[in-house]
């Protein structure tokens, strides 16, 4: 959120401050006069409309969510019925609903970790496909195919085509007794934390879900990185080869640093995908063991017959606090790049 806000600033400020590329460098005072009245109106309009839309659709709801996380409201009675309850929602979320919140946080954490692995695989595939091997277009299409599908469709495919106990492909190929991919909430590994009365761990059904997510995420990152590699100056790589770099060294020391903008985007997309994960879990009907922050927020907010706005907002704020650190890092990074 802060990102775009700053972005708007830079676009506005940049247009006014930065000299047009073609114009010769002139004195500071002259630059302002280069914009005619019409320019200013057009620019003001172009900046003002998106900024207004952004503030109305993103910032105001976000601030209201923050306020509502301290309130009790059912989303049904008039707004005057909103009752402020201090930190009660947060207290409830952290103590009474701890068997939902902490597994969800844990799963989101696993997801960040896992999607970074997937991103690495995607980058590797991009690197391989960039070498004009035969039929690379076909490989590209195959890897990219899952990205074209909506996540709900991906969820449905994995649930009924791959995972189903009766008719799923994986269970048909599996020689033993059918595996309950979707429902098995027993843990692969678990840790006991002193402040929780239940163990946290990676449940088997969430591990199965990670497979489905990898299937989609790898292709996404691959295409993104492939686009970056296509724009990469081949002479740099040649120079590296002449200097005696092997394949890995040339990637690690030359290609990877040169593609920093793409790397930042990949990192951002990976973290965002991991934190906002919702749709695929929902498509698999949110079995126990696969809760993520996204499903907790949605379930509490959209409950029919009286939503639990306060609790849902509190979950949302927890997610927000998690995101904010990352957003700040991204903004700073982005800002520096623009300055250099």
């Amino acid at each position: 959120m802060a990102t775009t806000d700053l972005g708007v600033d830079t676009i506005g400020g940049g247009a006014a401050n930065r000299p047009p590329a073609a114009a010769p460098p002139t004195g500071r005072r002259r630059r302002y006069s280069q914009l005619s009245r019409t320019d200013k109106i057009v620019l003001g309009f172009m900046v003002g409309v998106p900024a207004t839309i952004h503030i109305v659709l993103v910032w105001i709801p976000a601030i209201f969510t923050g306020i509502l996380s301290f309130a009790s409201w059912d989303n049904l009675t008039p707004v005057s019925a909103v009752k402020f309850v201090g930190f009660r929602n947060f207290w409830q979320v952290f103590t009474i609903f701890d068997n939902k919140l902490f597994p969800a946080l844990f799963n989101n954490f696993v997801l960040v970790f896992w999607l970074f692995i997937c991103s690495a695989i995607g980058i590797l595939l991009a690197q391989l496909l960039d070498r004009n091997i035969r039929a690379s277009r076909i490989y590209q299409s195959i890897y990219y195919f899952p990205v074209v599908l909506s996540v709900a469709v991906v969820g449905f495919i994995w649930k009924s085509v791959m995972f189903s106990q009766e008719a799923g492909l994986l269970n048909i190929l599996w020689p033993g007794k059918p595996i309950d991919f979707v429902g098995d909430q027993s843990k692969i590994f678990q840790v006991n934390l002193p402040f929780l009365d239940f163990p946290l761990g990676l449940s088997k059904n969430f591990a199965a879900l990670l497979l489905a997510m990898a299937w989609r995420h790898i292709g996404y990152i691959m295409v993104l990185y492939l686009a970056g590699l296509k724009s990469f100056d081949p002479s740099l790589r040649e120079a590296a080869a002449i200097d005696g770099c092997n394949e890995w060294q040339s990637f690690r020391r030359v290609v990877f640093p040169a593609l920093k903008p793409i790397n930042v985007i990949v990192a951002v997309i990976t973290v965002i995908e991991a934190l906002r994960a919702y749709d695929i879990v929902a498509a698999l009907s949110e079995p126990r063991g696969t809760e993520v922050m996204g499903t907790l927020v949605t379930n509490a907010l959209t409950g029919e017959g009286g939503g639990r706005v306060g609790i849902g907002s509190a979950y949302g704020m927890v997610l927000f606090v998690l995101c904010i650190g990352f957003i700040i890092w991204y903004v700073i990074n982005n800002f520096r790049e623009r300055q250099t």
Partner: protein
Amino acid sequence: MTNHSQKSPSPSEVGFALTSPMSRRNLLVAAAGVTGVTVLAACGSDDDSSDATNAPATTVAPAATEPAGTEAAPTTAAAPSGDEVTFGSNYSDPKDSAAIKAAVEATGLNVKINTVDHNTYQENFNTYVQQPDDVMCWFAGYRMRAFAGKGVVGDVSDVWAGLPDFSEGFKNASTALDGKQYFVPFYFYPWAIHYRKSLFADKGYEIPKTWDELIALCDKMKADGITPFAGANDGGWPQMGMFDMLNMRTNGYDFHISLMGGKESWTDDKVKKVFESWTTLLGYYQPDANGRTWQDAATAFGKKETGMYLLGTFVTSNFDPATDPTAQETIDDIDFFAFPEIDPQYGQDAVEAPIDGFMLAKSPKNPDGAKALLAGLGGAAAIDAYIAVNPAVVAANSKANTAGYNALQQKSAELVGAAKFISQFLDRDTDPDFASNVVGKGFSDFIADPTQVDTVLSTIEEQKQTYTFE
């Protein structure tokens, strides 16, 4: 649609599988039936009777071709009586929307139908109910009571004075805590234990009447190499039906409703007793119920791999004669029986049957017209017109024409008509959020590991405290 649903299906989403020649014949009856019905309705109304007589009947056929999801055109064809009444409909599938249109036309009133996609309607109901149409579609039980309690829907007690054709069970299900009615029932489907007639005949199994007979039957099936109970719990709702039945048989309907209303403790010994019985039954389930969809379990049931299946009568909709030539045989072979008695004090007096129907807006633009419409929809003529177009439901009205029913519908009508108490299914009998996010998750934990029952129950009880019921 119900494939990845988080909620039990509503009667309007699922229906009875019908034999295809049957339904074609029924559709023929439809045209005739609707004409007859509208004649009656027109005679009942005070004015414009000559115009109203044939006009609605002629609109039935084009209505059937109308695409789903589009806003149904106002009924301009007729010259119906009175000012316009708006009707918020969630009957969005083509067949359903044609059927509800026929039902509304059977009332002979000037009604504008606003159709919204079924799922969207349900998810946005909170917002919708604040600016609703005069009459709106909704569900009986807690889901209705919650809105009645918040004062956002209108009292229809005076309409009920003119609705003598509903059994006591239906009236109870339409009554809120203040003793007034806020709901007019339309149709329903029951939950019961389904079985294959041929399997029971082949193996000489008897319908169990008591808990002990049920367990004995399970043991017999197990010895014959058949899994006694189909187990599905994907989405977290299918096994709520098992809890409801066990609780109502063990502790009675009143305790069940009181528990659902948040007035009893989940750590009560009465509830623990229910879970003891459930643990026994789980031993006879298909393994790994949590990850199995009801459709997958129904397929296994169709192959006679499992002997019994506690589900709504919509189980037959898993078998589609259009794609599978043996499906019809399977459908005709499916029968059901009421859940056996556990405590003789309660016998088999309660039955689970989600009811769909209608509510009145808090301040309708046309109050008289809205009430007249509700009275009309509560009458036998409206449901007859509906069933004439879509025969896959069972009418709540006892005077409805049952001639077109198949055996399962006939039996459903008898089962529910005779019931002293009708429960609405767990996710309709309590706060929907509490049902899916607390109870449903708890049941999943219990099914995954029945030894954890004490932790599960104390967690449900703890989380229950954060909800305000009704």
